[in-house]
């Protein structure tokens, strides 16, 4: 599989910048502590919010921090400079597909962040007894779900990056990304949304990025609901990939017909 070479190269690239790594690790630990104290404070006078108990919420939130590096891939930043500086010509004269290339390249840096930042954090949280494995079945489902979450977050970012082909500028779209994070359930789980907003969130693909895997991990998704949740995630992920294919072919057409 030739595309895995991109994954390898990008993983290696992550290791080149040690200062960057330590800074990421430190900020990640601080963010985790903030989440911990925040939810402890929120649950001080109550056992349950919108049907979500304290331990479930803490599990959702802390595992979210562990996976945050894996589920935050700015693939759009890999496309914008290519279009503006014209190096996209190099990509188009290679016997590869830039969409797949970036998918595997981004996977390399996402895996690097998961292993280098997420894993130590997970070990600390396990040692501190703040994270518990939910059982073999849920763990397997979670890992599967996490990978699909990666594909969805990549696709979202890729789509916004491909807009650069038309706008010639990389900024603008970025500002909408906070909305994607919000609807993904990164800040609070979807149960906390008012009814109408939850209805919106349920109809968007972004819940497949964060909410579905974290809800499986934290037990918010009951044992009988895991399979349907995974299936709906498969559907959303497939839809996003197909959308990327269509938009990508359109963008290449635009680029070759209109000119860079």
């Amino acid at each position: 599989m030739k595309y895995l070479t991109y994954t390898r190269a990008e993983f290696l690239r992550g290791m080149r910048y040690r200062a960057n790594y330590w800074a990421t690790l430190t900020s990640s630990l601080i963010m985790t502590l903030i989440q911990w104290y925040l939810w402890t404070a929120v649950y001080r006078h109550t056992d349950s919010i919108a049907g979500v108990g304290f331990s479930s919420m803490l599990s959702y939130s802390l595992m979210g921090r562990v996976a945050s590096g894996f589920l935050a891939e700015p693939a759009n930043l890999r496309i914008g400079p290519r279009v503006r500086q014209g190096t996209i010509v190099h990509d188009l004269v290679k016997p590869t597909d830039l969409h797949y290339q970036l998918l595997f390249q981004s996977l390399g840096s996402a895996l690097f962040r998961l292993v280098s930042t997420g894993l130590p954090l997970l070990l600390v949280l396990l040692a501190a007894g703040r994270i518990r494995f939910p059982g073999a079945g849920a763990t397997v489902a979670f890992v599967l779900s996490l990978f699909m979450g990666y594909i969805t977050v990549f696709s979202t970012s890729f789509l916004s990056g491909v807009l650069t082909f038309y706008t010639k500028s990389g900024v603008g779209i970025d500002h909408l990304y906070t909305l994607v994070e919000f609807f993904s359930g990164m800040y609070v789980p979807l149960q906390f949304f008012p009814g109408w907003l939850r209805a919106v969130a349920e109809r968007l693909p972004f819940k497949a990025i964060h909410y579905i895997p974290m809800a499986i991990w934290s037990g918010m998704t009951g044992p009988g609901e895991v399979a349907p949740a995974i299936l709906s995630q498969v559907a959303w992920t497939a839809l996003m990939v197909l959308l990327c294919r269509a938009v990508w072919f359109g963008a290449v057409r635009h680029l070759t017909v209109q000119g860079g």
Partner: protein
């Protein structure tokens, strides 16, 4: 200027489609006169190729610009105007023109990164823009201004990556790498991250990457840009060596010195039109003096054309 350009008597001038055909016929006659030379099918055929771009107008006054922000207006620019030429396998061709003459546009059309507005391009029997990926396996492209090295990683990783992308067997990869490392003297650079290389070192590595997969045709877009005399010399020798191995070389440059690299044939492009297609010697004859700077040559060319 070029539309009123009068006919000139030199045999190799290709101007517009009719003249291009005449020039091609004359070349064929020249080939026929040398029976020992086998006439092969051209590897690249370009026929009456034109490419237009739509440029958004900016406007003179502030209010003009505000109006055009809401209702953009466009102007059509003809970057390439009915260009025709063909290149035989193993031939090396210098594609010479001033900045903005249409050199890069031609290369992009040959690589299939641009679709022609009219006319056709055929490279090894395929239309590049219809079969971009199939075409990509058999060609190499080097752009002197845009590196394809992995910026943060040691140079060897860029080679490794391309080896995998082009699906080279370990034996072929090893053999080609050894040959290129030797020819371009880049063995000592393999462990260095690309961002720490000098321009000359980067150019040598980029060249080696371009030839790694044994391409049949290589397009070089200003490969010696910004290099010193010694570095140029080295690159020139290398490209000559690759040419002797039978690689077809298409070298675009605004620098007449680069002609020494390719020696044989020159295509002179100006404002999207091919002004001249022939040997360097013939170009000398038409200009009637030393080929100093390209701008002078183009001017002299017009002057000569008027006299003729």
């Amino acid at each position: 200027m070029s539309s009123t350009h009068p006919q000139i008597s030199a045999s190799h001038v290709a101007h517009g489609s009719h003249e291009a055909k005449t020039a091609a016929r004359r070349r064929d006659e020249a080939n026929a006169a040398e029976p020992e030379k086998t006439v092969e099918e051209p590897i690249i055929i370009v026929k009456e190729l034109s490419r237009e771009f739509r440029v958004r107008l900016d406007g003179e006054s502030f209010s003009d610009r505000v109006r055009r922000f809401f209702r953009p207006e466009y102007r059509t620019v003809r970057a390439l105007d009915s260009v025709s030429f063909s290149i035989r396998p193993g031939e090396s061709v210098g594609y010479i023109g001033l900045n903005g003459a249409g050199k890069s546009t031609t290369i992009k059309l040959l690589c299939g990164v641009l679709v022609p507005s009219s006319g056709s391009v055929t490279v090894m029997g395929l239309e590049p823009y219809r079969h971009r990926t199939a075409n990509a396996k058999r060609i190499g492209l080097m752009m002197g201004q845009r590196t394809q090295l992995l910026w943060d990683l040691p140079v060897k990783e860029s080679f490794r990556l391309l080896g995998k992308i082009y699906d080279l067997s370990p034996e072929i990869y090893r053999a080609n790498l050894d040959r290129l490392v030797e020819a371009l003297d880049i063995g000592s650079l393999m462990e260095t991250p690309a961002r720490m290389l000098s321009l000359g070192q980067k150019t040598r590595c980029d060249l080696a990457l371009t030839f790694l997969h044994d391409p049949a045709v290589v397009y070089l877009d200003e490969p010696t840009i910004g290099l010193d005399v010694l570095a140029r010399e080295r690159i020139r020798d290398f490209i000559r060596g690759e040419k002797e191995r039978g690689v077809t070389i298409f070298l675009a440059s605004h620098d007449l010195d680069d002609l020494e690299i390719v020696t044989e044939r020159v295509l002179l492009i100006h404002e999207g039109k091919i002004l001249f297609d022939g040997t360097q010697m013939a170009l000398h004859d038409v200009v009637g003096g030393p080929l100093s700077t390209l701008e002078d040559t183009v001017k002299q060319f017009y002057r000569g054309a008027r006299l003729g």
